[in-house]
Homo-oligomer: 336 residues x 2
């Protein structure tokens, strides 16, 4: 077993595919919806609004400090649904596996997905496995899609930010991106860094309990905080002002960024959110965020203004001002 490898037959839809599902996948994700093994999962929903999202994960390496491609795939889609203001409920999982991949690695990934799903309180209810010949894919790619329920009265969107809103950032930035890069480049550092991969749905729930007057949630993944803020400024047609000194960056992450010539504002996060909150509720939302295990370092990093619509301006640490653009160019391929 220890050295067993994935064969093309595991993706055939035939006997070996059925065994992989029965012996390896179902024990990890066991739930009645999945166990029926129909072409899809079926579940009841009350009348209301749903959120639906998807992401594919191609991160390299597939195991890294703080996580793996498995929990990243679960947390990423949980977070995308949560950023719609929804309570994530059900996930699908689609695997594309390279022939020869170690079965033990697949099991480790599946287990990390199951643990992440349990932490987030979601169920993986349907899936698909394809195996491609050696060389046609690098190790393993995972797609997850998910559906969640939007509570009555909630309406958040990247288009809803309003002048006066305070911008809450839930914690330190750059952790995930520099972790992947340091692993990939084989860099060793005194101060180890680790991915912040985490489910943010409970944090969103807490913040909503403090106030429904939250206009926008966004998790700054690829492209980092700078890109997410630019997208919101453009879609809401507002200006955004942030203060560099207010943005928390771990010392180890800052050092690594400095050495590598990266700006942490553009580095990917996998367990952080930006929330745009009506100013009179900002302190309450901030206090609520800080109660959450994934919001302990939350802080207000800036606000929305009616000046310079579509632009993000940063007061630098030394008192100047500069425009922060969207990421141009790929800092780092296969970051998530």
């Amino acid at each position: 077993m220890k050295n067993d490898r994935i064969l093309l037959d595991h993706g055939s839809g035939g006997m070996l595919a059925n065994r992989l599902i029965a012996d390896v996948m179902l024990p990890c994700f066991d739930n009645p919806m999945l166990s029926r093994l129909d072409d899809g999962a079926c579940f009841d929903v009350p009348a209301g609004r749903l959120a639906f999202s998807t992401d594919s994960y191609v991160v390299d390496p597939i195991f890294f400090p703080g996580g793996s491609i498995g929990d990243l795939a679960v947390n990423g889609t949980v977070n995308d649904i949560a950023m719609c203001g929804a309570v994530p409920l059900y996930l699908s999982a689609g695997f594309i596996i390279e022939e020869g991949f170690l079965l033990a690695d697949l099991e480790a990934i599946l287990k990390s997905m199951a643990r992440a799903a349990q932490k987030a309180g979601v169920k993986i209810v349907t899936g698909d496995t394809k195996v491609v010949p050696r060389g046609a894919a690098d190790k393993i790619f995972i797609n997850t899609a998910g559906v969640g329920q939007i509570p009555a009265g909630v309406s958040v969107s990247g288009s809803n930010a309003q002048p006066g809103d305070k911008i809450i950032l839930s914690g330190t930035i750059g952790d995930h991106g520099v972790t992947i890069l340091s692993q990939r480049e084989g860099l060793a550092f005194d101060a180890p860094v680790q991915s912040d991969s985490a489910p943010l749905n409970h944090l969103v729930h807490r913040m909503f309990e403090s106030s429904r007057d939250i206009h926008t949630f966004r998790d700054p993944t690829r492209g980092g905080v700078a890109t997410a803020l630019n997208e919101i400024a453009a879609r809401s047609d507002v200006g955004i002002r942030i203060r560099e000194s207010a943005i928390p960056v771990k010392k180890s992450v800052a050092a690594l960024c400095h050495i590598l010539g990266l700006d942490p504002l553009f580095v990917a996060n996998e367990g952080k959110l930006l929330a745009f909150v009506a100013h009179q509720h900002a302190e309450a939302a901030l206090a609520a965020a800080r109660q959450d295990p994934f919001g302990g370092d939350a802080c207000i990093i800036g606000e929305v203004v009616s000046l310079h619509p579509g632009k993000v301006v940063m007061e630098t640490a030394i008192g100047g001002e500069r425009i922060v653009n969207m990421l141009t160019g790929e800092q780092l391929p296969r970051i998530c």
Copy 2:
């Protein structure tokens, strides 16, 4: 433009990724839910039962007679949802693209997805694009997931087949699999074959209009009719008897299978379904199927029995009997 290629930057989440979405993707799939470009799509549903399904598509070649990886990805998930008895509504699309992929090919694929979505009456409402370095994936992989609504009173499952049920097959078998194989091997034939890639949701709807007493739908994709029937026999704990002479196979497909040593019973279909119908409604369901553009060749190929539970037995064309097993081994990798 004609020779423009996908760059790593197109998957960065930054400027070029935003342009790819705005200039190439939105014009293809334009709808208000997608255009909001939030982390997910939001839509209203009435109280009731939903079906949720996913599949990844890794077919090689990506363009083939009768279709492309694009319409295959839409039709495949539309069909999986339809096989749950549901009306497909919304699809997600996740792209994993190899650096250097021709932008013109991507556009052709996106257009084929848009056409397929329109034919099926579904909307592509959310998506994701990752670009991996050259050699880390072969050309393009597409994942689709989808949700659909199960009409009140409908309950179909691979576990619901009952002794006495008649088994309807909606048309000829093996068309998709032999098309892909002949393309890949560069085989030329007098009688050209083409994929049967098609949406089956309207066919399912017609059959339901004739009778709600349909217990099981299944589209025999990877593993073919033989594998699908074996799965149903096992999950419903019933025996299945089919007649070889009743199973329609195009002459060109049969000839190709003969030359290549393939049994069409095990070859993939992408536009066919199996329906298990209470015997007193079978003729009505068959007549309804034949009214549909994708059910013209529908026929009854056998029935469910209480003998030999879990086994599929075929009366051969020369009057004998043999057990039909699930596909063992991969006939053909990257068939869908």
